[in-house]
Amino acid sequence: MVLSRVSTSSSCSAAVLKPLATALSLRRSISTDTTPLTIETSVPFTSHQCEPPSRSVETTPKELLSFFHDMARMRRMEIAADSLYKSKLIRGFCHLYDGQEAVAVGMEAAITKKDCIITAYRDHCTFLGRGGTLLEIFGELMGRQVGCSKGKGGSMHFYKKDANFYGGHGIVGAQIPLGCGLAFAQKYSKDETVTFAMYGDGAANQGQLFEALNIAALWDLPAILVCENNHYGMGTAEWRAAKSPAYYKRGDYAPGLKVDGMDALAVKQACKFAKEHALKNGPIILEMDTYRYHGHSMSDPGSTYRTRDEISGVRQERDPVERVRKLILTHDLATEKELKDIEKEVRKEVDDAIAQAKESPMPEPSELFTNVYSKGMGVESFGADRKEVRATLP
């Protein structure tokens, strides 16, 4: 459908908005139009113990296009990871995030790289959102040296220290106390930043969540607990696992907000609201109502505990990428063809990254023993025949 092209303001060859550009990304003219646009979220927010933020979200065409670009890239990356797994280049566990992209992208739009994010094992897109490159991602998934953890972590252990992305954790729920610890460190150093500790509806039943929330509320930590509720904890539906599936209310004394996690703008609004709240009043829980198209991981077909109709229903009605596409088209911010070009470009980006990652070597055997201990203080692990002794501590 061709819409009459409304010439918006200067569209120069601006680089991508988010610092995702690597040697692989092509420069493409994306509208740098920053005239504010107000869009209503799909559904109003429901809140617990607090005033919900307004449904009207301030955004700009530039932001919407960046949402589209980033989400398309994430979607493409996850689908490529799917085929790489099936061709046995990725082994072990691989948990895909397609369907949930709006959460990662909306969150990034509301915060800075100084705020911390920590999440569980479904971390590929969150890592990408924090500034990771496709090469690092595919490298790590395939266990190559070029991966973000040098091939030693794998799919569940992506970290990016300089962007304050703290992973990447395999054990369900264990990242929540870590996240509250990050918030504690932020309060300790008086940073005026916040931590988003993300977990799923399955992890919401972990005791350590409530322990950590209690401590965070007692000590007034700037911690935002984000429950990405995709309604299935592995193969168990939320109504079979939780007596009270209103996860945003589970904080009891801590306020909570329920958000449509398939709407990137709603996510952005909620995260902005949460950041302001946490800096003043301590922890808050955000429940993102989202959905994953793939199964729990690549070894799970995803259709034994839910119907294909349900999956395709959500894909038709609530898909985050499609929603943004429709928004862009109805507001005349770009043509259908431009959006298709973005998708093509993204596809090429991903293919290039995969090709490059495939050529990267496996880690050296000596890497087996590096990074077990930190060498900061000159402490080393020894065998029986060591000749050098002594740690020289300052």
Binding site: K152, G181, F184, A185, A384, V389, P394
Partner: protein, 407 residues
């Protein structure tokens, strides 16, 4: 080929004046031969030390009359040689902690009752008043999460000291300690270091019951990426605490419930103990006795008897439970050819079991007899006093074992 070592702290201005760990406790002591002096010590590959101390003259003496340092002997030596101050072990830990908190604003303490209460064993007494609520944090009873929080804070660069009120409670935090504390440095490809110290009292106390008498070192020893040390005297307690806080690696510091009131004279100046080093408590010729924490005192008590019977045991406090100081231990084995391990862990899967395996693997050719490992019984620690005594190794058993070994 000689191995060269540098005294700990020699490179800095903080060297201890004298590494004598003399104790004013009623135990026999020898001057500590660990080469923690200033300057360079040359060690030849045959293990003989060239220190200039009188450590080599006793090979043929059947009865060693000066092996038992009496109270007066020890104290005369220490007070004459240096100033210092007398201190109890828990106070030494507190001193070490306080000095490190003064020195580095990133050090903070988290645990149950560490703040306003002053610590259940008084190790953190006075710190909350001095440093405030943000640096000495009273946590709710939630080990899993506050250990996790400590690890998360450590990922950003803070240096928390997490106290388990009793080491046994840290079983609740096992996931955090194993997966996050130990492995994050590796799985992140070196991006994050976890400079956390996890400490607390453990071991068999006085009729505390099974759940409060656990020896966690046997459970934690397989976790890759952590270091484990056990303190046994006020001197090494303070030194190890400081070294642990300064280390970039996660360190678990095992204290013992019964050792908190030991008194010793320690140096006034700033000093640290090498985290990886074993301590030579009493050099000898006939048998190497390896021990740590509370069993050190049982061993030294048995050593008194053994010396009177004509034996010359070499007693090494291994201190570093992970990794083992196989250098010191190896040199000792090469000298005496007989090893006795006395530990408080249970026989199955304890530190002694690992140490036996390590020594067998590496020093098999030097052994004249199989390694004997005396450990606690594989039972939950009973409440009744007599039974509890029999779960742990007693000095009489040590004496018997040495006699058997040296036949």
């Amino acid at each position: 080929m000689a191995a060269i070592f540098q005294g700990v702290g020699a490179a800095t201005a903080l060297s201890p004046s004298n590494s004598i760990a003399s104790k004013k406790f009623q135990l026999p002591t020898r001057r500590s031969v660990s080469a923690r002096k200033r300057g360079i010590v040359l060690v030849r590959s045959d293990g003989s030390l060239n220190l200039g101390l009188n450590s080599r003259g006793r090979r043929d003496q059947p009865l060693i009359t000066n092996a038992v340092a009496t109270k007066s002997d020890g104290s005369a030596a220490s007070t004459a040689s240096k100033s210092g101050h007398e201190i109890l072990l828990f106070e030494a830990l507190q001193e070490g902690l306080e000095e490190e908190m003064d020195r580095d604003p990133r050090v903070c303490v988290m645990g149950e009752d560490v703040g306003h209460y002053g610590g259940s064993y008084k190790v953190t007494k006075g710190l909350a008043e001095k440093f405030g609520d943000l640096r000495v944090l009273d946590t709710p009873i939630a080990e899993n999460s506050f250990t996790g929080m400590g690890i998360g804070a450590a990922m950003t660069g803070l240096r928390p000291v997490v106290e388990g009120m009793n080491m046994g409670f840290l079983l609740l935090a096992f996931n955090q300690i194993s997966n996050n504390c130990g492995m994050l440095h590796y799985t992140s490809g070196g991006q994050f270091t976890i400079p956390i110290v996890i400490r607390g009292p453990g071991g068999v106390g006085r009729q505390l019951g099974a759940e409060h008498s656990q020896r966690l070192e046997s459970y934690f020893q397989s976790i890759p990426g952590i270091q484990m040390v056990a303190c046994s005297t006020p001197y090494n307690a303070k030194g190890l605490m400081k070294a642990a806080i300064r280390s970039e690696n996660p360190v678990i510091l095992f204290e013992h419930v019964l050792l908190y009131n030991l008194k010793e004279r320690i140096p006034d100046e700033d000093y640290i103990c090498n985290l990886e080093e074993a301590e030579m408590v009493r050099p000898g010729e006939h048998v190497t006795i390896l021990t740590y924490s509370r069993m050190r005192y049982h061993v030294m008590q048995a050593a008194k008897t053994l010396v009177n019977k004509g034996y010359d045991p070499e007693v090494i406090d291994i201190r570093s439970l992970k990794p083992f100081d196989l250098y010191t231990i190896g040199n000792s084995v090469k000298k005496t050819h007989r090893v006795l391990i006395v530990e408080e862990c249970m026989r199955t899967g304890g530190i002694g079991a690992s140490l036996t395996a390590a020594i067998n693997e590496n020093f098999h050719d030097y052994l004249d007899a199989p390694i004997v490992c005396l450990s606690s019984q594989d039972v939950p620690t009973p409440y009744a006093g007599t039974l509890e005594e029999w779960t742990v190794v007693q000095p009489a058993q040590i004496v018997t074992a040495v006699e058997q070994l040296c036949k």
